[in-house]
Symmetry: C2
Subunit: 218 residues, 2 copies
């Protein structure tokens, strides 16, 4: 029987990658519906996908007749519907810490490197590949400098971003680190991030979510 | 006696404005600690504020000895610590809808118009005031087009973004609409957003959070 959960995504989208990690950590099966960001001007702009998500951004998760968008909202939804194993700690202060780490990536790094932003820089400012690369590296660098300080400066950091259980912040960190490596930013600049990245990728839930392992990867 | 809650902010920062609305909706008193984004290269980069928030971004809320950052994480924290009146509906599907609307602003519009981004555009691409204005308007316009479709196309939209109770999505919508008006984008292009914006600003919780009413406003 087909799973009720279906994930609309693209193999290399970090926001989709986060949701794959969350689904795998919770042991939830799901169907994959590839939405090709680059073919024919972008399938995310086509009528079929727009009917699901007027934002024309990935991911979208359907749960039966429920249509869910925004990776952070999807992870919170999964946490509420399938509490075990948890993506967030129990107490409010720790939950706020994990969410703040996750949002420092989801709000303050990732949106700036999005395809549509790079397209605007090229179209309106004439940014060439080198300038776009410098842009992407700048925001990942500044963001990871802050996140490294947040992680290294807190006794709450453990094997993973918060304690010894992988969760919502790790589901954001690993895709962002993947992007850093894609843009040739060595993780050694951020030793705590590098250590947590390696610890996560030792887990099958993270390995199965790797972009290269997705059915639409080239 | 002084309130235990202290909000570090700047009168015109939208992320801080969201948290003011959330605090007011919950009827929570708080102290205001202005952090001037523009004086001396930005007080947010000074040692005192960096010790609170290594991201050097606003807002920061302290609750006794707890230091909380990221406006969306702060609103979730307030919801967990002070559940009444709620900023989120009860059922998981509706909570996901409200969070997705809020994040469509907090992730996909607001970070692109942030001061540090405009400074980069000017410094690295030579963007003048007109080009920066076009940039800000582009992302608000594209984002609000999608949010208008999400709101107008759903029976769950009421007097406010979700039903007839103001909540987390409204706390993001009003500051973003304030920015749109600041950049001379008339809200009439988005009739549902314009209607909800007006309904919110009829409430004292929203009016008291207006940037012009803050102690550090010029």
């Amino acid at each position: 029987m087909a799973s009720e959960l279906a994930l609309y995504g693209y193999w290399r989208s970090s926001a989709v990658y986060r949701v794959r990690i969350a689904l795998n950590l919770k042991g939830l099966a799901y169907e994959t519906h590839p939405v090709h960001l680059l073919s024919d001007g972008g399938e995310q702009h086509g009528a079929a996908y727009r009917a699901l998500n007027p934002q024309q951004l990935l991911p979208c998760l359907t749960d039966g007749d429920r249509v869910l968008t925004q990776s952070m909202a999807i992870m919170e939804y999964l946490e509420e519907m399938h509490p075990e194993p948890p993506l967030l700690p129990v107490d409010a202060r720790s939950r706020a810490r994990v969410r703040a780490l996750a949002l420092a990536m989801a709000c303050d790094i990732h949106p700036l490197g999005n395809l549509r932003v790079l397209q605007y820089l090229e179209g309106s400012f004439g940014a060439d590949d080198e300038a776009k690369l410098a842009w992407s590296r700048h925001w990942i660098g500044e963001g990871f400098d802050a996140i490294e300080a947040m992680l290294a400066g807190s006794a709450a950091t453990g094997r993973y971003c918060h304690g010894d259980t992988p969760g919502m912040a790790d589901a954001c960190l690993v895709p962002q680190a993947y992007n850093a490596l894609r843009w040739k930013l060595p993780l050694e600049r951020w030793p705590t991030i590098a250590r947590i990245h390696a610890a996560c990728n030792a887990l099958e839930a993270f390995r199965q979510a790797l972009p290269e392992r997705q059915p639409d990867a080239p």
